[in-house]
Structure formats: structure tokens, C-alpha cells
């Protein structure tokens, strides 16, 4: 026996997956079933009472999904995880465990446009209030904490400009406030950044992006760091109070440091219902096996493209944290030293019209509203992902009218540069 522990790539291939008990199948089988038979009435009662390990119904858990859950929990360094239907579903399920009407979530202003919409409109209808703070001004988080604050929500690498968040500084504010820090790690993936190592209590993902990586399956993941004391001060009754539907068990007392993931499953997923299809779980798992290889190639390509664009006469600015002199370059060296990710923005001297022309002249880049695909993608945030924000909010979230967002794929970088060059000249 040696003291060497398996590394990230080994975990990306193996964690959670062992040859199937009944058939010996080496790849993870797709358990495309709604339900699972019980051994007997006692077994059924044990499962329904959360007393035994096992499966009941795919809305609550599924063996294919469980492999994905353990895989991502292992990669992130968490105690447990829960797979759900999308990144948005992950956010609702997480906050449902923490928030009551009148409570407040404190969120970074730089978020995916869809998250800004979800927080501003859908959550408002639940009676959940949102306070916004600027991740470039750490003090703004501190000033925004109130007695109603129940969680702080940030992105590790923030959409759309690929800016890097000072996770440790915001984690310190969350600790002082006695609330969990939730980090959306979609754009970094655990290959680049492991937010739990920097103080995150909960990590969420749109697994649709780099985890799955092939632009073919929606999915979301919630990872429990096992770090937060949910019973303290009775601020989180979903976890600390007896649950009448489960014979009065207290989730934190019974499940210890993976209580939050269990609450998300047996209270959130059970009642809200956004279960992930086992087929999608299989596709995302297959993607994760090559995450380290793909992510490095994404980053290396993105850096080459960013360097090319920053020297181009038609370009007025490039926001890529991997470039020396970028305002986030120091944070990138600290938090994401293997690369700055593959999503970034740049501005064109020709403004809005030049952005529209560029998008229509590109031949290899696909114009669509996704990121983290093997294929290179382009979008004009002001007219698409961020179009529902007002002009001031667009600028604040990094989606000004002259800004174009790229998600760099894993093609040959020379082909990507040539395509951008011809489109900028056209």
C-alpha cells in the first residue's frame, strides 16, 4: 500500500461507477425506469422512511443518476450531490431548502442572464427577495448583508465576460454572516476551480455546459460541501426541524455532513419534481470522463484566440482573464492557474452593427445561446441572453451593446483564428 491517492483524471473516469452487479456491464447502464420493486413491505417502509439505502422512484433517485452524483461530488471534493433537470432547477431546489417568504438571497450582479431573470422575477413571486452586490467591490457584499439574508450566491468564473470572482473574500463575508456561500461553478468546472477548497458550502452546476461538454444534454448538479452547520440558531428549519412526512426525523441530525444534499433530494426534488432523465445522466457521465482533456484544450484554444483578438485592429477590447494585464489576471493566477476558461467577451470598434455583422459572417462558430460545447459558439448577449435586462443592467453585467461573447471549442485553434479573421475583415 502506498499513500498516493487517485488523481483528478482517475476520479473523472471511475468515481461512482463500478461494474454492474447483475450483468457485469462495465459502462454505467442507463436505468430507464420510473420505479423499483421492493423486496417486501418492511423494505418499502424502510425506504420511504429514509432508513435504508435503495431506490424507490426516479423522481427521487435513480442508479444511473447516482453515478453522476457521486462522480461530481468526488470531483468537487463534496460529501454528496444531487442531479436535477437543469442548472436552473438546481438553483430553485437549493434555495427552496434555505428560503421562506420574506427571506433574502444576496447575489453577485455578474451572473448568467437567465439566472438574473430567475432571481428577479420567478423568485420574487415566491416572496424571496434578492439583494445584488458587485463582485468587483467585495465591500458591497458586506454592506448588503441584512438579518434576512439566508445565502450568498456567486459564479466562480462569471458569465458573460469570464471574470474571476474572489471566492475566499466572499466566503469570509458569508461565514461572518452565518449563511452558506453558494457558488455556480459551471464555467470553471472542478478541473479549473474547486470552490469548496476556497470556502464554498454549496456548489451548483449547469451540467449542460462543460461537464457534459458536447451540447447534447441538459442537466444540473447540486454539491454539498458538508461544511455548514444547519442546526445553528435554527435559521434553516427545513434541515433542523422534525419532518412530519418522515416520521419526525431531523435531516441534519440523521444525515450529518451530507444533510443538505439529502434535503434537496427528499424535500426539493420530491416536491418540486425537476428530475434528470437517466439517459441525460448517462450522456453527461460520458462527457465527464474526458473533462480534464477537454477543459485544458478549451482553455489553451481560448487563450490563443484571445491573444489574436487583442492584437486585431477591428477590436477595441478583449475581456479574458488569461491575458496579462487583464483586470482579473491576478485572480485567475490564484484561483484558476490551469487556464481562464473558454467563455469571454470582446468589444468591436464598429459597435453594435459590427457585432451583428461578425456573427453573420462567421462560418465555423455557431450562433446560439449555449456555452461549454465541443464546438465554438458565438452570441451577441445584448440582443439575446441579456436582452431582458435594461440598458444599465446590461452594462453592469458585462453585456454592453458592442460586446460579443465567445465560447471556444476544442477544434484546431488555427481554424478558429482564421474564421474570426475572415469574419472581421468581411
Amino acid at each position: 500500500m502506498t499513500d498516493r491517492l487517485p488523481g483528478f483524471s482517475t476520479i473523472a473516469v471511475h468515481a461512482g461507477a463500478q461494474p454492474d452487479p447483475t450483468t457485469g456491464a462495465r459502462a454505467t447502464p442507463i436505468y430507464q425506469t420510473t420505479s423499483f420493486v421492493f423486496n417486501d413491505a418492511d423494505h418499502a417502509a424502510s425506504l420511504f422512511g429514509l432508513q435504508a439505502f435503495g431506490n424507490i422512484y426516479t423522481r427521487i433517485g435513480n442508479p444511473t443518476n447516482a453515478v453522476l452524483e457521486e462522480r461530481v461530488a468526488a470531483l468537487e471534493g463534496g460529501t454528496a450531490a444531487l442531479a436535477v433537470a437543469s442548472g436552473h432547477a438546481a438553483q430553485v431546489v437549493v434555495l427552496q431548502q434555505l428560503m421562506r417568504p420574506g427571506d433574502e438571497v444576496l447575489a453577485a450582479r455578474k451572473l448568467y442572464g437567465g439566472s438574473i431573470n430567475q432571481f428577479t422575477h420567478a423568485f420574487k413571486a415566491f416572496g424571496w427577495n434578492v439583494a445584488w452586490a458587485d463582485p468587483d467591490d467585495i465591500g458591497s457584499f458586506e454592506r448588503a448583508v441584512t438579518p434576512h439574508t439566508k445565502a450568498i450566491f456567486i459564479e466562480s468564473i462569471a458569465n458573460p465576460a469570464g471574470s474571476i470572482t474572489d471566492i475566499e473574500a466572499i466566503a469570509a463575508i458569508a461565514r461572518n454572516a452565518g449563511v452558506p456561500l453558494i457558488v455556480d461553478n459551471t464555467l470553471a468546472s472542478p478541473y479549473l476551480i474547486k470552490p469548496i477548497d476556497h470556502g464554498a458550502d454549496i456548489v451548483v452546476h449547469s451540467a449542460t455546459k462543460f461537464l457534459g461538454g458536447h451540447g447534447n444534454s441538459l442537466g444540473g448538479i447540486i454539491v454539498d460541501a458538508g461544511t455548514f452547520d444547519w442546526a445553528k440558531d435554527n435559521k434553516y428549519p427545513m434541515l433542523s426541524e422534525p419532518r412530519p412526512e418522515y416520521h419526525g426525523i431531523r435531516i441534519q441530525e440523521t444525515f450529518g455532513n451530507f444533510a443538505f444534499a439529502i434535503a434537496c433530494r427528499v424535500l426539493g426534488l420530491r416536491d418540486l419534481g425537476p428530475a434528470l432523465s437517466p439517459f441525460n445522466a448517462f450522456m453527461i457521465l460520458t462527457g465527464i470522463e474526458t473533462l480534464p482533456l477537454r477543459m485544458q484544450k478549451h482553455c489553451d484554444n481560448a487563450k490563443a484566440v484571445a491573444e489574436f483578438l487583442s492584437a486585431h485592429p477591428a477590436v477595441s477590447a478583449v475581456n479574458y482573464a488569461g491575458l496579462p494585464g487583464d483586470r482579473y489576471n491576478n485572480l485567475q493566477r490564484k484561483y484558476s492557474p490551469k487556464g481562464a476558461g473558454a467563455v469571454f467577451t470582446f468589444s468591436l470598434k464598429g459597435g453594435y452593427d459590427a457585432g451583428v455583422n461578425l456573427v453573420s459572417n462567421l462560418k465555423l462558430f455557431s450562433h446560439l445561446a449555449n456555452v461549454g460545447d465541443t464546438r465554438s459558439l458565438v452570441i451577441h448577449p445584448a440582443s439575446t441572453t441579456h436582452s431582458q435586462l435594461d440598458d444599465a443592467a446590461k452594462v453592469k453585467s458585462g453585456a454592453a451593446p458592442d460586446v460579443v461573447r465567445l465560447s471556444i471549442g476544442i477544434e484546431d485553434k488555427e481554424d478558429l483564428i482564421e474564421d474570426l479573421d475572415q469574419a472581421l475583415r468581411a
Binding site: P6, G77, L82
Partner: protein, 194 residues
């Protein structure tokens, strides 16, 4: 002995090594965590003895309750204490009077008494605090993976189909000692602040 983080091999050696477990504070109420931890360990082949003076005359999974450790009347390998931290010391003192004494004192999830641990260790016993043997067995065997829990172990061997009374292999490759690094840190901070 560091009781903030346990190496998987330490937990593995205990769970592989003990055969009989006396559970102090076992409950006959089938929705209590002590009941279903008892039931699981019995299903995994351990010789379980319920200890609770309030339930003498009743049985748990067919095993009669005894009032105290002294009443068991035969050697036992491990004592699993399902009591609050403030009730640990008397149980440990009682255990140390047994002849022969048990080899392991295990304090349940949420229970920790460092003075009692020190006393047991000074007498040559192994101690685990603030853990659940059901969770640890489920984790090291990967049975707990059904719930999306990170077992922190890997295996390329075919998984067993667990049946009644079946002992599962706990000898998978670990990729982290103790809890996860972050949860170890949190547990340590919590201990220091209380």
C-alpha cells in the same frame, strides 16, 4: 489520535475486525435513527446487542434488550454509544470495567467527548467519535452511493448484490482520508468554537 479526521484504513480495520456490537441507547421505536442503524448493522451480519434500561423485557430484531453493559454476560468487541455527548463518560467508565473490555468505543454522529476518548485510549481501546457506523459501512462498501453520497472510494470489481446478513467488502481504493478535506476543516472549526 486525531479525532477531527479519520483515515479510511482506521475505520475499515474497525468495521472489518469487530463481530459483536452493543448499542447503548438503542430504541425499539422504528423511526428512530438508532433503530435503523441497529437494523442495518444486523442485516450486514454483525452480532447486535440492544442496551437500554428503559426497554428491558422487549426485543429489537429478535434480540432482547439488556439494562446495562454488565448484563450482557459475554465478551463484546465494540460499544456504539447512541447518547448525547454529556452522557458518554459514564458509559465509557462502565465499559472499561468489563472483563475483557471491548476493543472499540464508537460515539454516534453528533456525539463527542474528548476526555472519555482519552480515557478509553489510555486503556488501549480504539475510539471513533461523531460518526455513524451505518454510514461508514455503507460508504466503504459503496452501498451509500445509491443516495448520491461521495463514498470517496473506487473499484473496478463487479459490485455485489447485497442480501440479508451479507458482509460486504470494504476494501475499495480510498481517495481521501477522513471526511472530505472541507468537512474536516468545518468539523475542526466547530469543535474549537464550542
Amino acid at each position: 489520535m486525531n479525532h477531527d479526521a479519520y483515515d479510511d484504513n482506521y475505520i475499515r480495520s474497525i468495521l472489518n475486525g469487530v463481530k459483536s456490537i452493543a448499542m447503548v441507547g438503542a430504541s425499539p421505536v422504528n423511526v428512530r435513527p438508532s433503530y435503523f442503524a441497529f437494523k442495518y448493522l444486523a442485516q450486514r451480519g454483525y452480532d447486535m446487542i440492544p442496551v437500554n434500561p428503559g426497554h428491558v423485557g422487549k426485543t429489537l430484531m429478535g434480540k432482547p434488550f439488556v439494562a446495562s453493559l454488565a448484563d450482557i454476560g459475554r465478551p463484546i468487541d465494540m460499544i456504539d454509544i447512541f447518547r448525547n455527548s454529556s452522557h458518554i463518560m459514564p458509559v465509557v467508565e462502565e465499559a472499561l470495567k468489563l472483563s475483557p473490555p471491548p476493543r472499540v468505543i464508537w460515539m454516534q454522529l453528533g456525539a463527542r467527548d474528548d476526555a472519555a476518548a482519552e480515557k478509553a485510549e489510555a486503556a488501549g481501546l480504539k475510539v471513533v467519535m461523531n460518526r455513524c457506523p451505518k454510514i461508514e459501512y455503507g460508504r466503504l462498501s459503496s452501498e451509500i452511493s445509491w443516495m448520491g453520497v461521495n463514498s470517496r472510494t473506487l473499484s473496478a470489481k463487479r459490485a455485489p448484490v447485497p442480501t440479508q446478513g451479507m458482509r460486504l467488502s470494504l476494501n475499495r481504493t480510498s481517495f481521501g482520508g477522513g471526511q472530505t478535506a472541507a468537512s474536516d476543516r468545518a468539523a475542526k472549526n466547530k469543535t474549537e468554537s464550542t
